[in-house]
Protein backbone atom coordinates (compact mmCIF):
# COMPACT_ATOMS: atom_id res chain seq x y z
CA UNK A 1 0.00 0.00 0.00
CA UNK A 2 1.14 3.52 -0.79
CA UNK A 3 0.70 5.98 2.05
CA UNK A 4 -0.92 9.12 0.66
CA UNK A 5 -1.83 12.43 2.34
CA UNK A 6 -3.75 15.45 1.09
CA UNK A 7 -3.08 19.12 1.69
CA UNK A 8 -6.11 21.29 0.95
CA UNK A 9 -9.58 19.69 1.09
CA UNK A 10 -11.44 22.17 -1.15
CA UNK A 11 -13.42 21.23 -4.23
CA UNK A 12 -10.57 19.50 -6.09
CA UNK A 13 -8.97 18.18 -2.92
CA UNK A 14 -12.13 16.41 -1.76
CA UNK A 15 -12.61 14.97 -5.23
CA UNK A 16 -9.03 13.59 -5.21
CA UNK A 17 -9.59 12.27 -1.71
CA UNK A 18 -12.67 10.32 -2.74
CA UNK A 19 -10.90 8.75 -5.73
CA UNK A 20 -7.89 7.94 -3.55
CA UNK A 21 -10.21 6.47 -0.93
CA UNK A 22 -11.55 3.99 -3.48
CA UNK A 23 -8.09 3.15 -4.87
CA UNK A 24 -6.99 -0.40 -4.02
CA UNK A 25 -3.28 0.54 -3.84
CA UNK A 26 -3.72 3.58 -1.60
CA UNK A 27 -3.95 4.08 2.12
CA UNK A 28 -4.98 7.64 3.08
CA UNK A 29 -2.87 8.53 6.10
CA UNK A 30 -3.81 12.17 6.67
CA UNK A 31 -5.58 15.31 5.49
CA UNK A 32 -4.48 18.86 6.23
CA UNK A 33 -6.94 21.72 5.84
CA UNK A 34 -7.48 25.04 7.55
CA UNK A 35 -11.25 24.53 7.81
CA UNK A 36 -12.31 23.07 11.16
CA UNK A 37 -15.65 21.98 9.75
CA UNK A 38 -14.13 20.09 6.83
CA UNK A 39 -11.66 18.37 9.16
CA UNK A 40 -14.41 17.54 11.60
CA UNK A 41 -16.64 15.96 8.94
CA UNK A 42 -13.75 13.90 7.55
CA UNK A 43 -12.79 12.65 11.02
CA UNK A 44 -16.32 11.86 12.02
CA UNK A 45 -17.60 10.14 8.88
CA UNK A 46 -14.48 8.93 7.03
CA UNK A 47 -12.37 8.14 10.06
CA UNK A 48 -9.47 10.11 8.59
CA UNK A 49 -6.72 11.73 10.58
CA UNK A 50 -6.82 15.47 10.01
CA UNK A 51 -4.50 18.38 10.75
CA UNK A 52 -4.59 22.15 10.47
CA UNK A 53 -0.78 22.34 10.10
CA UNK A 54 0.51 20.31 7.14
CA UNK A 55 4.08 20.12 8.46
CA UNK A 56 2.82 18.55 11.65
CA UNK A 57 0.96 16.04 9.50
CA UNK A 58 4.12 15.18 7.53
CA UNK A 59 6.08 14.69 10.78
CA UNK A 60 3.44 12.44 12.19
CA UNK A 61 2.06 10.31 9.36
CA UNK A 62 5.15 10.13 7.10
CA UNK A 63 3.38 9.78 3.73
CA UNK A 64 5.07 8.33 0.61
CA UNK A 65 3.15 10.75 -1.60
CA UNK A 66 1.13 13.93 -1.11
CA UNK A 67 -1.61 15.62 -3.14
CA UNK A 68 -1.46 19.42 -2.95
CA UNK A 69 -4.61 21.37 -3.83
CA UNK A 70 -4.32 24.75 -2.19
CA UNK A 71 -4.43 28.24 -3.75
CA UNK A 72 -1.62 28.56 -6.32
CA UNK A 73 0.39 31.07 -4.29
CA UNK A 74 1.23 28.30 -1.79
CA UNK A 75 2.28 25.71 -4.39
CA UNK A 76 5.99 26.60 -4.62
CA UNK A 77 6.76 26.63 -0.90
CA UNK A 78 4.61 23.60 -0.03
CA UNK A 79 6.00 21.50 -2.89
CA UNK A 80 9.58 22.46 -1.96
CA UNK A 81 8.98 21.34 1.60
CA UNK A 82 7.63 17.99 0.36
CA UNK A 83 10.50 17.38 -2.06
CA UNK A 84 13.02 18.20 0.67
CA UNK A 85 11.38 15.49 2.74
CA UNK A 86 11.69 13.01 -0.18
CA UNK A 87 7.94 12.80 -0.75
CA UNK A 88 6.41 12.21 -4.20
CA UNK A 89 4.15 15.10 -5.22
CA UNK A 90 0.92 15.55 -7.17
CA UNK A 91 0.05 19.25 -7.27
CA UNK A 92 -3.02 20.96 -8.75
CA UNK A 93 -2.73 23.22 -11.79
CA UNK A 94 -1.41 25.78 -12.50
CA UNK A 95 2.02 24.67 -11.28
CA UNK A 96 3.39 27.96 -9.90
CA UNK A 97 2.65 31.67 -9.83
CA UNK A 98 5.48 32.36 -12.29
CA UNK A 99 8.08 30.57 -14.38
CA UNK A 100 11.01 31.22 -12.01
CA UNK A 101 9.40 29.46 -9.04
CA UNK A 102 9.03 26.22 -10.96
CA UNK A 103 12.65 25.89 -12.17
CA UNK A 104 14.00 25.12 -8.73
CA UNK A 105 11.28 22.53 -8.10
CA UNK A 106 11.99 20.71 -11.37
CA UNK A 107 15.70 20.46 -10.43
CA UNK A 108 14.90 19.30 -6.93
CA UNK A 109 12.45 16.58 -8.04
CA UNK A 110 14.82 15.35 -10.75
CA UNK A 111 17.82 15.33 -8.46
CA UNK A 112 16.00 13.27 -5.89
CA UNK A 113 14.27 11.00 -8.38
CA UNK A 114 10.82 11.83 -7.00
CA UNK A 115 7.59 11.32 -8.93
CA UNK A 116 6.10 14.69 -9.85
CA UNK A 117 2.79 15.40 -11.54
CA UNK A 118 0.49 18.40 -12.09
CA UNK A 119 -3.31 18.08 -12.39
CA UNK A 120 -3.88 18.97 -16.04
CA UNK A 121 -6.52 16.28 -16.43
CA UNK A 122 -7.33 16.96 -20.11
CA UNK A 123 -4.32 14.85 -21.07
CA UNK A 124 -6.28 11.87 -19.75
CA UNK A 125 -9.40 12.58 -21.82
CA UNK A 126 -9.89 9.96 -24.56
CA UNK A 127 -10.67 12.41 -27.38
CA UNK A 128 -7.60 14.56 -26.72
CA UNK A 129 -5.46 11.42 -26.42
CA UNK A 130 -6.67 10.44 -29.88
CA UNK A 131 -5.82 13.92 -31.21
CA UNK A 132 -2.30 13.44 -29.86
CA UNK A 133 -2.01 10.06 -31.54
CA UNK A 134 -3.25 11.42 -34.88
CA UNK A 135 -0.96 14.46 -34.82
CA UNK A 136 2.06 12.32 -33.92
CA UNK A 137 1.27 9.83 -36.69
CA UNK A 138 1.48 12.63 -39.24
CA UNK A 139 -2.15 12.21 -40.31
CA UNK A 140 -2.56 15.99 -40.53
CA UNK A 141 0.65 16.48 -42.51
CA UNK A 142 2.51 19.66 -41.73
CA UNK A 143 0.72 21.64 -39.03
CA UNK A 144 -0.26 25.15 -39.99
CA UNK A 145 -2.60 26.71 -37.42
CA UNK A 146 -4.62 25.95 -34.29
CA UNK A 147 -7.48 27.44 -32.27
CA UNK A 148 -7.62 26.66 -28.56
CA UNK A 149 -10.84 27.53 -26.76
CA UNK A 150 -12.60 27.22 -23.42
CA UNK A 151 -15.88 28.71 -22.26
CA UNK A 152 -17.93 28.29 -19.14
CA UNK A 153 -20.04 29.89 -16.42
CA UNK A 154 -17.55 30.58 -13.58
CA UNK A 155 -18.06 34.32 -13.08
CA UNK A 156 -21.42 35.35 -14.46
CA UNK A 157 -22.13 38.36 -12.30
CA UNK A 158 -20.40 40.74 -9.97
CA UNK A 159 -19.94 38.83 -6.76
CA UNK A 160 -18.15 38.12 -3.56
CA UNK A 161 -14.37 37.97 -3.88
CA UNK A 162 -12.47 34.72 -3.25
CA UNK A 163 -8.84 33.76 -3.90
CA UNK A 164 -9.86 33.14 -7.50
CA UNK A 165 -10.44 36.86 -7.88
CA UNK A 166 -7.05 37.84 -6.46
CA UNK A 167 -4.24 38.10 -9.01
CA UNK A 168 -1.60 37.76 -6.25
CA UNK A 169 -2.98 34.36 -5.29
CA UNK A 170 -3.14 32.91 -8.79
CA UNK A 171 -6.72 33.95 -9.52
CA UNK A 172 -8.12 35.12 -12.83
CA UNK A 173 -9.23 33.46 -16.04
CA UNK A 174 -5.70 33.20 -17.48
CA UNK A 175 -4.11 31.20 -14.64
CA UNK A 176 -7.15 29.34 -13.41
CA UNK A 177 -9.01 28.53 -16.63
CA UNK A 178 -7.00 29.33 -19.78
CA UNK A 179 -4.07 27.36 -18.32
CA UNK A 180 -5.95 24.15 -19.25
CA UNK A 181 -6.12 25.17 -22.91
CA UNK A 182 -2.53 26.45 -23.01
CA UNK A 183 -1.33 23.16 -21.53
CA UNK A 184 -3.33 21.25 -24.12
CA UNK A 185 -1.82 23.28 -26.97
CA UNK A 186 1.68 22.66 -25.57
CA UNK A 187 0.92 18.95 -25.47
CA UNK A 188 -0.89 18.49 -28.78
CA UNK A 189 0.95 20.97 -31.02
CA UNK A 190 4.22 22.02 -29.38
CA UNK A 191 5.18 24.36 -26.52
CA UNK A 192 4.18 28.00 -27.04
CA UNK A 193 7.34 30.09 -27.31
CA UNK A 194 6.11 33.35 -28.80
CA UNK A 195 3.11 35.59 -28.17
CA UNK A 196 2.19 38.26 -30.73
CA UNK A 197 -0.39 40.04 -28.62
CA UNK A 198 -2.99 39.46 -25.91
CA UNK A 199 -6.22 40.95 -24.66
CA UNK A 200 -6.99 40.30 -21.01
CA UNK A 201 -10.52 41.56 -20.46
CA UNK A 202 -12.54 42.03 -17.31
CA UNK A 203 -16.26 41.45 -17.71
CA UNK A 204 -17.56 41.18 -14.13
CA UNK A 205 -14.44 40.91 -11.99
CA UNK A 206 -12.78 44.02 -10.66
CA UNK A 207 -9.24 42.77 -10.05
CA UNK A 208 -8.76 40.01 -12.58
CA UNK A 209 -9.53 39.22 -16.21
CA UNK A 210 -12.59 37.16 -17.14
CA UNK A 211 -11.51 36.53 -20.72
CA UNK A 212 -8.21 35.97 -22.53
CA UNK A 213 -7.68 36.36 -26.27
CA UNK A 214 -4.20 35.90 -27.65
CA UNK A 215 -2.18 35.28 -30.83
CA UNK A 216 0.37 32.55 -30.29
CA UNK A 217 3.23 30.72 -31.93
CA UNK A 218 4.74 27.38 -30.97
CA UNK A 219 8.35 26.17 -30.98
CA UNK A 220 7.73 24.42 -34.33
CA UNK A 221 6.42 27.68 -35.85
CA UNK A 222 2.72 26.83 -35.85
CA UNK A 223 0.50 29.86 -35.33
CA UNK A 224 -2.66 29.88 -33.31
CA UNK A 225 -5.42 31.72 -31.53
CA UNK A 226 -6.38 31.38 -27.89
CA UNK A 227 -9.94 32.32 -26.96
CA UNK A 228 -11.05 31.70 -23.39
CA UNK A 229 -13.96 33.23 -21.47
CA UNK A 230 -15.14 32.06 -18.06
CA UNK A 231 -18.11 34.42 -18.02
CA UNK A 232 -20.01 32.59 -20.73
CA UNK A 233 -23.20 31.13 -19.37
CA UNK A 234 -24.30 29.63 -22.67
CA UNK A 235 -22.25 26.64 -21.56
CA UNK A 236 -23.56 24.47 -18.73
CA UNK A 237 -20.02 23.65 -17.58
CA UNK A 238 -16.47 24.22 -18.77
CA UNK A 239 -16.20 23.31 -22.41
CA UNK A 240 -12.66 22.98 -23.78
CA UNK A 241 -11.90 22.54 -27.44
CA UNK A 242 -9.08 22.53 -29.92
CA UNK A 243 -8.96 22.82 -33.69
CA UNK A 244 -5.76 21.90 -35.52
CA UNK A 245 -5.28 22.54 -39.22
CA UNK A 246 -2.57 20.82 -41.24
CA UNK A 247 -1.61 20.25 -44.86
CA UNK A 248 -3.39 16.89 -45.00
CA UNK A 249 -6.45 17.56 -42.86
CA UNK A 250 -8.10 19.15 -39.88
CA UNK A 251 -9.15 18.08 -36.39
CA UNK A 252 -11.88 19.63 -34.27
CA UNK A 253 -12.07 18.11 -30.81
CA UNK A 254 -13.59 18.73 -27.42
CA UNK A 255 -13.79 16.44 -24.41
CA UNK A 256 -16.69 14.43 -25.83
CA UNK A 257 -16.50 14.46 -29.61
CA UNK A 258 -13.66 14.21 -32.14
CA UNK A 259 -14.18 15.33 -35.73
CA UNK A 260 -11.45 14.64 -38.24
CA UNK A 261 -11.36 15.72 -41.88
CA UNK A 262 -8.77 13.98 -44.04
CA UNK A 263 -7.98 15.23 -47.53
CA UNK A 264 -6.63 12.08 -49.14
CA UNK A 265 -6.91 8.30 -49.04
CA UNK A 266 -3.63 8.07 -47.15
CA UNK A 267 -5.28 7.72 -43.72
CA UNK A 268 -4.54 6.10 -40.36
CA UNK A 269 -6.29 2.83 -39.50
CA UNK A 270 -9.94 3.26 -38.58
CA UNK A 271 -10.28 6.49 -40.59
CA UNK A 272 -11.31 7.29 -44.14
CA UNK A 273 -11.10 10.20 -46.57
CA UNK A 274 -13.45 13.07 -45.65
CA UNK A 275 -15.16 13.59 -42.29
CA UNK A 276 -14.76 11.07 -39.46
CA UNK A 277 -16.59 11.38 -36.14
CA UNK A 278 -15.61 9.56 -32.97
CA UNK A 279 -17.14 9.84 -29.53
CA UNK A 280 -15.70 9.73 -26.05
CA UNK A 281 -17.74 6.56 -25.45
CA UNK A 282 -15.43 4.60 -27.76
CA UNK A 283 -12.22 6.44 -26.90
CA UNK A 284 -12.24 6.27 -23.11
CA UNK A 285 -11.12 3.16 -21.31
CA UNK A 286 -13.28 2.46 -18.29
CA UNK A 287 -11.86 3.11 -14.83
CA UNK A 288 -12.25 1.15 -11.59
CA UNK A 289 -13.88 4.05 -9.77
CA UNK A 290 -15.64 6.96 -11.44
CA UNK A 291 -16.22 10.43 -10.05
CA UNK A 292 -16.98 13.40 -12.31
CA UNK A 293 -15.04 12.05 -15.31
CA UNK A 294 -12.76 9.15 -16.22
CA UNK A 295 -9.83 11.55 -16.54
CA UNK A 296 -9.76 12.37 -12.82
CA UNK A 297 -9.37 8.71 -11.90
CA UNK A 298 -6.98 8.04 -14.79
CA UNK A 299 -4.57 10.79 -13.75
CA UNK A 300 -4.51 9.46 -10.18
CA UNK A 301 -3.96 5.88 -11.41
CA UNK A 302 -1.07 7.18 -13.53
CA UNK A 303 0.53 8.94 -10.56
CA UNK A 304 0.07 6.03 -8.15
CA UNK A 305 1.52 3.61 -10.70
CA UNK A 306 4.57 5.84 -11.11
CA UNK A 307 5.04 6.01 -7.34
CA UNK A 308 4.73 2.22 -7.16
CA UNK A 309 7.41 1.95 -9.85
CA UNK A 310 4.92 0.32 -12.22
CA UNK A 311 4.59 3.10 -14.76
CA UNK A 312 6.23 6.15 -16.33
CA UNK A 313 6.27 9.70 -14.92
CA UNK A 314 6.13 11.61 -18.20
CA UNK A 315 2.64 13.03 -18.64
CA UNK A 316 2.06 16.25 -16.71
CA UNK A 317 5.53 16.27 -15.18
CA UNK A 318 6.65 19.48 -13.45
CA UNK A 319 8.66 20.17 -16.56
CA UNK A 320 5.65 20.05 -18.89
CA UNK A 321 3.60 22.18 -16.49
CA UNK A 322 6.46 24.68 -16.34
CA UNK A 323 6.06 25.18 -20.11
CA UNK A 324 2.50 26.26 -19.38
CA UNK A 325 3.60 28.64 -16.61
CA UNK A 326 6.11 30.09 -19.07
CA UNK A 327 3.48 30.56 -21.81
CA UNK A 328 1.22 32.25 -19.24
CA UNK A 329 4.00 34.72 -18.44
CA UNK A 330 4.49 35.42 -22.18
CA UNK A 331 0.77 36.09 -22.61
CA UNK A 332 0.77 38.45 -19.61
CA UNK A 333 3.82 40.33 -20.89
CA UNK A 334 2.24 40.91 -24.29
CA UNK A 335 -0.90 42.40 -22.80
CA UNK A 336 -2.27 45.18 -25.03
Amino acid sequence: MIKVALIGAGKMGISHLSILGAHPMVQIVGVADTSKIVNDVLEKYSGMKTFTDFKKMLDEVKPDAVFVSVPTKFHASFVEELLNRNIHVFVEKPFCLNATQGENLIRLAKGKGLVNQVGYHNKFVGTFEEVKRLVNSGALGELNHFIGEAYGPVVVRKKQETWRSDPEEGGGCLMDYASHVIDLINYLVSPITKVHGSLLKSIYSTQVEDAVYSLLETSNNVSGVLSVNWSDETHRKMSTGITIIGSKGKIISDASELKVFLKSDDVPEGYSKGWNIKYITELTPSVDFYLRGEEYSAQIDYFINAVAGKGPNEKNSFESAWNTDYAISLIKNKKN
Binding site: A22, V38, T162, T234, R236, E257, Y290
Partner: protein, 291 residues
Protein backbone atom coordinates in the same frame (compact mmCIF):
# COMPACT_ATOMS: atom_id res chain seq x y z
CA UNK B 1 -41.39 1.06 -10.11
CA UNK B 2 -42.60 1.30 -13.70
CA UNK B 3 -40.65 -0.60 -16.33
CA UNK B 4 -39.93 2.58 -18.30
CA UNK B 5 -38.91 5.91 -16.77
CA UNK B 6 -38.62 9.13 -18.74
CA UNK B 7 -35.47 11.17 -18.01
CA UNK B 8 -34.60 14.85 -18.23
CA UNK B 9 -31.04 15.19 -19.57
CA UNK B 10 -32.25 16.36 -22.97
CA UNK B 11 -34.14 19.26 -21.37
CA UNK B 12 -31.11 20.69 -19.64
CA UNK B 13 -28.53 20.37 -22.39
CA UNK B 14 -26.84 17.35 -20.84
CA UNK B 15 -25.40 15.38 -23.72
CA UNK B 16 -22.53 13.02 -23.13
CA UNK B 17 -21.22 12.88 -26.65
CA UNK B 18 -21.74 16.23 -28.32
CA UNK B 19 -21.58 19.87 -27.29
CA UNK B 20 -23.35 20.77 -30.52
CA UNK B 21 -26.32 18.55 -29.73
CA UNK B 22 -26.39 19.96 -26.26
CA UNK B 23 -26.66 23.49 -27.62
CA UNK B 24 -29.44 22.44 -29.99
CA UNK B 25 -31.32 21.01 -27.00
CA UNK B 26 -30.84 24.24 -25.08
CA UNK B 27 -32.44 26.12 -27.93
CA UNK B 28 -35.27 23.63 -28.41
CA UNK B 29 -36.24 23.56 -24.73
CA UNK B 30 -35.95 27.24 -24.01
CA UNK B 31 -39.61 27.41 -22.96
CA UNK B 32 -40.83 25.37 -19.99
CA UNK B 33 -44.00 24.61 -21.92
CA UNK B 34 -41.98 22.66 -24.52
CA UNK B 35 -40.55 20.52 -21.72
CA UNK B 36 -44.00 19.70 -20.38
CA UNK B 37 -45.31 18.99 -23.88
CA UNK B 38 -42.51 16.47 -24.36
CA UNK B 39 -43.28 14.86 -21.00
CA UNK B 40 -46.89 14.64 -22.18
CA UNK B 41 -45.78 12.74 -25.28
CA UNK B 42 -44.22 10.10 -23.04
CA UNK B 43 -47.33 10.05 -20.80
CA UNK B 44 -49.55 9.48 -23.81
CA UNK B 45 -47.43 6.42 -24.53
CA UNK B 46 -48.14 5.14 -20.98
CA UNK B 47 -44.85 6.26 -19.42
CA UNK B 48 -46.16 8.08 -16.37
CA UNK B 49 -42.92 8.53 -14.40
CA UNK B 50 -40.56 11.41 -14.97
CA UNK B 51 -37.16 11.19 -13.30
CA UNK B 52 -35.47 14.57 -13.00
CA UNK B 53 -32.77 16.52 -11.22
CA UNK B 54 -33.77 19.32 -8.90
CA UNK B 55 -32.86 21.87 -11.56
CA UNK B 56 -34.28 25.38 -11.01
CA UNK B 57 -36.53 25.03 -14.04
CA UNK B 58 -38.32 22.02 -12.52
CA UNK B 59 -40.04 24.52 -10.16
CA UNK B 60 -42.09 25.80 -13.10
CA UNK B 61 -42.80 22.34 -14.45
CA UNK B 62 -44.14 21.37 -11.03
CA UNK B 63 -46.34 24.48 -10.94
CA UNK B 64 -47.82 23.57 -14.29
CA UNK B 65 -48.43 20.00 -13.16
CA UNK B 66 -50.12 21.18 -9.96
CA UNK B 67 -52.38 23.49 -11.98
CA UNK B 68 -53.99 20.51 -13.72
CA UNK B 69 -54.48 17.82 -11.08
CA UNK B 70 -56.93 15.75 -13.14
CA UNK B 71 -54.69 15.60 -16.16
CA UNK B 72 -51.72 14.53 -14.05
CA UNK B 73 -53.51 12.26 -11.59
CA UNK B 74 -51.41 9.22 -12.54
CA UNK B 75 -48.20 11.17 -12.99
CA UNK B 76 -45.19 10.70 -10.69
CA UNK B 77 -41.84 12.38 -10.41
CA UNK B 78 -38.68 10.71 -9.13
CA UNK B 79 -36.58 13.66 -7.92
CA UNK B 80 -32.78 13.31 -8.10
CA UNK B 81 -30.91 15.61 -5.78
CA UNK B 82 -29.00 17.78 -5.68
CA UNK B 83 -28.54 19.44 -9.05
CA UNK B 84 -24.79 19.28 -8.59
CA UNK B 85 -23.69 22.19 -10.77
CA UNK B 86 -25.79 24.53 -8.69
CA UNK B 87 -23.81 23.58 -5.60
CA UNK B 88 -20.45 23.19 -7.31
CA UNK B 89 -20.70 26.72 -8.66
CA UNK B 90 -21.87 27.97 -5.27
CA UNK B 91 -18.95 26.31 -3.46
CA UNK B 92 -16.50 28.01 -5.84
CA UNK B 93 -18.18 31.32 -5.19
CA UNK B 94 -19.30 31.18 -1.57
CA UNK B 95 -17.26 28.43 0.03
CA UNK B 96 -18.74 25.40 1.78
CA UNK B 97 -20.25 27.34 4.72
CA UNK B 98 -21.57 30.08 2.44
CA UNK B 99 -23.24 27.48 0.25
CA UNK B 100 -25.01 25.86 3.18
CA UNK B 101 -26.17 29.26 4.37
CA UNK B 102 -27.40 30.09 0.87
CA UNK B 103 -29.41 26.91 0.30
CA UNK B 104 -30.85 26.03 3.68
CA UNK B 105 -34.51 27.18 3.65
CA UNK B 106 -35.26 30.65 4.89
CA UNK B 107 -32.63 32.71 6.55
CA UNK B 108 -30.02 30.28 7.76
CA UNK B 109 -29.27 31.94 11.06
CA UNK B 110 -32.96 32.66 11.38
CA UNK B 111 -33.83 28.97 11.23
CA UNK B 112 -31.66 28.50 14.27
CA UNK B 113 -34.04 26.01 15.77
CA UNK B 114 -32.76 23.17 13.63
CA UNK B 115 -29.88 24.53 11.59
CA UNK B 116 -28.22 26.62 14.26
CA UNK B 117 -28.43 23.92 16.83
CA UNK B 118 -27.04 21.48 14.30
CA UNK B 119 -23.95 23.59 13.87
CA UNK B 120 -23.39 24.04 17.54
CA UNK B 121 -23.71 20.33 18.17
CA UNK B 122 -21.85 19.47 14.95
CA UNK B 123 -24.81 17.43 13.87
CA UNK B 124 -24.06 17.27 10.16
CA UNK B 125 -26.81 14.76 9.49
CA UNK B 126 -29.38 17.41 10.49
CA UNK B 127 -27.79 19.83 8.04
CA UNK B 128 -28.15 17.23 5.30
CA UNK B 129 -31.80 16.79 6.26
CA UNK B 130 -32.34 20.54 5.91
CA UNK B 131 -30.78 20.46 2.45
CA UNK B 132 -33.05 17.56 1.42
CA UNK B 133 -36.08 19.56 2.62
CA UNK B 134 -34.88 22.55 0.60
CA UNK B 135 -34.63 20.42 -2.54
CA UNK B 136 -38.00 18.73 -1.95
CA UNK B 137 -39.91 21.98 -1.55
CA UNK B 138 -40.63 22.30 -5.26
CA UNK B 139 -42.41 18.91 -5.35
CA UNK B 140 -45.05 19.77 -2.79
CA UNK B 141 -48.33 17.90 -3.50
CA UNK B 142 -46.75 15.95 -6.33
CA UNK B 143 -46.40 12.20 -6.09
CA UNK B 144 -42.71 11.36 -5.49
CA UNK B 145 -42.58 7.67 -4.60
CA UNK B 146 -38.80 7.31 -5.08
CA UNK B 147 -36.24 9.99 -4.22
CA UNK B 148 -32.71 9.70 -5.56
CA UNK B 149 -29.31 10.90 -4.49
CA UNK B 150 -27.39 12.15 -7.55
CA UNK B 151 -24.31 10.26 -8.66
CA UNK B 152 -21.78 13.01 -7.95
CA UNK B 153 -22.80 13.01 -4.28
CA UNK B 154 -23.37 9.26 -3.98
CA UNK B 155 -19.98 8.50 -5.51
CA UNK B 156 -18.19 11.21 -3.54
CA UNK B 157 -19.56 9.75 -0.31
CA UNK B 158 -18.74 6.24 -1.52
CA UNK B 159 -15.09 7.09 -2.18
CA UNK B 160 -14.83 8.88 1.15
CA UNK B 161 -16.37 5.84 2.84
CA UNK B 162 -19.09 8.03 4.42
CA UNK B 163 -21.51 5.13 4.70
CA UNK B 164 -23.29 6.61 7.70
CA UNK B 165 -24.40 9.54 5.56
CA UNK B 166 -25.62 7.20 2.80
CA UNK B 167 -27.60 5.40 5.50
CA UNK B 168 -28.90 8.62 7.04
CA UNK B 169 -30.16 9.69 3.62
CA UNK B 170 -31.95 6.37 3.29
CA UNK B 171 -33.60 6.64 6.68
CA UNK B 172 -34.67 10.26 6.30
CA UNK B 173 -36.34 9.74 2.91
CA UNK B 174 -38.42 6.93 4.38
CA UNK B 175 -39.24 8.73 7.60
CA UNK B 176 -39.98 12.22 6.32
CA UNK B 177 -41.31 11.60 2.81
CA UNK B 178 -42.68 8.10 3.12
CA UNK B 179 -40.85 7.38 -0.11
CA UNK B 180 -38.27 4.85 -1.24
CA UNK B 181 -34.69 6.04 -1.32
CA UNK B 182 -32.70 5.46 -4.48
CA UNK B 183 -29.08 6.03 -5.43
CA UNK B 184 -27.62 7.04 -8.76
CA UNK B 185 -24.03 5.93 -9.22
CA UNK B 186 -21.31 5.23 -11.74
CA UNK B 187 -19.95 2.52 -9.43
CA UNK B 188 -22.85 0.15 -8.93
CA UNK B 189 -21.07 -3.00 -7.67
CA UNK B 190 -18.98 -1.04 -5.15
CA UNK B 191 -22.01 0.96 -3.95
CA UNK B 192 -24.13 -2.14 -3.48
CA UNK B 193 -21.45 -3.68 -1.23
CA UNK B 194 -21.25 -0.46 0.78
CA UNK B 195 -25.02 -0.16 1.23
CA UNK B 196 -25.27 -3.79 2.28
CA UNK B 197 -22.53 -3.17 4.86
CA UNK B 198 -24.79 -0.67 6.66
CA UNK B 199 -27.79 -2.97 6.53
CA UNK B 200 -29.58 -1.61 3.47
CA UNK B 201 -31.09 -4.60 1.71
CA UNK B 202 -32.14 -4.78 -1.93
CA UNK B 203 -31.63 -1.06 -2.63
CA UNK B 204 -32.83 0.86 -5.69
CA UNK B 205 -29.70 1.69 -7.67
CA UNK B 206 -29.69 3.56 -10.97
CA UNK B 207 -26.48 3.19 -12.97
CA UNK B 208 -25.07 3.16 -16.48
CA UNK B 209 -25.79 -0.20 -18.05
CA UNK B 210 -25.13 -0.45 -21.76
CA UNK B 211 -23.70 -2.66 -24.45
CA UNK B 212 -20.63 -0.43 -24.88
CA UNK B 213 -19.60 -0.84 -21.23
CA UNK B 214 -19.60 2.97 -21.03
CA UNK B 215 -19.33 4.31 -17.46
CA UNK B 216 -19.63 0.82 -15.98
CA UNK B 217 -16.77 1.13 -13.47
CA UNK B 218 -15.00 -2.11 -12.84
CA UNK B 219 -16.23 -3.48 -16.17
CA UNK B 220 -19.33 -4.96 -17.80
CA UNK B 221 -18.59 -8.49 -16.63
CA UNK B 222 -18.65 -7.36 -13.01
CA UNK B 223 -22.00 -5.58 -13.51
CA UNK B 224 -23.54 -8.57 -15.25
CA UNK B 225 -22.36 -10.82 -12.46
CA UNK B 226 -23.85 -8.56 -9.77
CA UNK B 227 -27.19 -8.45 -11.61
CA UNK B 228 -27.20 -12.23 -11.87
CA UNK B 229 -26.18 -13.07 -8.33
CA UNK B 230 -27.07 -10.23 -5.94
CA UNK B 231 -30.17 -8.55 -4.59
CA UNK B 232 -30.62 -5.13 -6.13
CA UNK B 233 -33.47 -3.24 -7.78
CA UNK B 234 -31.49 -1.97 -10.76
CA UNK B 235 -32.42 0.88 -13.06
CA UNK B 236 -30.43 1.01 -16.27
CA UNK B 237 -29.50 4.47 -17.53
CA UNK B 238 -27.33 5.62 -20.45
CA UNK B 239 -28.56 2.50 -22.23
CA UNK B 240 -27.76 4.07 -25.60
CA UNK B 241 -24.23 4.90 -24.43
CA UNK B 242 -24.96 8.57 -25.00
CA UNK B 243 -26.23 7.78 -28.51
CA UNK B 244 -23.17 5.86 -29.61
CA UNK B 245 -24.93 2.47 -29.74
CA UNK B 246 -27.67 1.84 -32.33
CA UNK B 247 -31.03 1.88 -30.52
CA UNK B 248 -32.11 -1.65 -31.38
CA UNK B 249 -28.86 -3.26 -30.29
CA UNK B 250 -28.77 -1.13 -27.16
CA UNK B 251 -32.27 -2.00 -26.00
CA UNK B 252 -31.89 -5.68 -26.86
CA UNK B 253 -28.84 -5.88 -24.59
CA UNK B 254 -30.50 -4.20 -21.61
CA UNK B 255 -33.73 -6.19 -21.92
CA UNK B 256 -31.74 -9.43 -22.00
CA UNK B 257 -30.21 -8.78 -18.56
CA UNK B 258 -31.71 -10.31 -15.43
CA UNK B 259 -32.79 -8.14 -12.51
CA UNK B 260 -33.03 -4.81 -14.34
CA UNK B 261 -36.33 -3.55 -12.95
CA UNK B 262 -36.55 -0.30 -14.90
CA UNK B 263 -35.03 1.41 -17.89
CA UNK B 264 -34.47 5.16 -17.83
CA UNK B 265 -34.19 7.03 -21.09
CA UNK B 266 -34.56 10.54 -22.40
CA UNK B 267 -35.37 11.79 -25.87
CA UNK B 268 -36.48 15.04 -27.46
CA UNK B 269 -38.61 14.02 -30.40
CA UNK B 270 -41.89 12.13 -30.55
CA UNK B 271 -40.35 9.69 -32.99
CA UNK B 272 -37.41 8.79 -30.75
CA UNK B 273 -39.59 8.53 -27.66
CA UNK B 274 -42.07 6.16 -29.29
CA UNK B 275 -39.33 4.15 -31.01
CA UNK B 276 -37.51 3.54 -27.71
CA UNK B 277 -40.69 2.59 -25.88
CA UNK B 278 -41.77 0.13 -28.55
CA UNK B 279 -38.29 -1.41 -28.70
CA UNK B 280 -38.37 -1.99 -24.94
CA UNK B 281 -41.82 -3.57 -25.20
CA UNK B 282 -40.74 -5.70 -28.13
CA UNK B 283 -37.62 -7.09 -26.45
CA UNK B 284 -39.33 -7.52 -23.09
CA UNK B 285 -41.80 -9.78 -24.82
CA UNK B 286 -39.03 -11.69 -26.54
CA UNK B 287 -37.00 -12.26 -23.36
CA UNK B 288 -40.03 -12.91 -21.12
CA UNK B 289 -40.06 -16.49 -22.35
CA UNK B 290 -36.40 -17.18 -21.61
CA UNK B 291 -36.22 -15.44 -18.20
Amino acid sequence: MDRILFGDNQFFAVNHISDEKSRAQSIKFKEDKTILDTIDISRNLCVETFMCTTHDRIYNICDMVRAEPDKYSKFSIYPCMPYAHKYANAVTELGIMGTIKHYVPGNFFGSIFKGGMAFVSKDYISIMELLIDAEMKMFKNINTPVIFLQNVITDLLLGLDMKDILKAYHDYVIKKYNAEPGYITMNMPMLLDKLESVGIKNPIICSSINKAGFRMSGGMKLYENVLRTKQVRAIAMQVLGGGAIPAKEAIEYVCSLPNVESILFGASSKQNISQTISLINEFDEKFAKSK
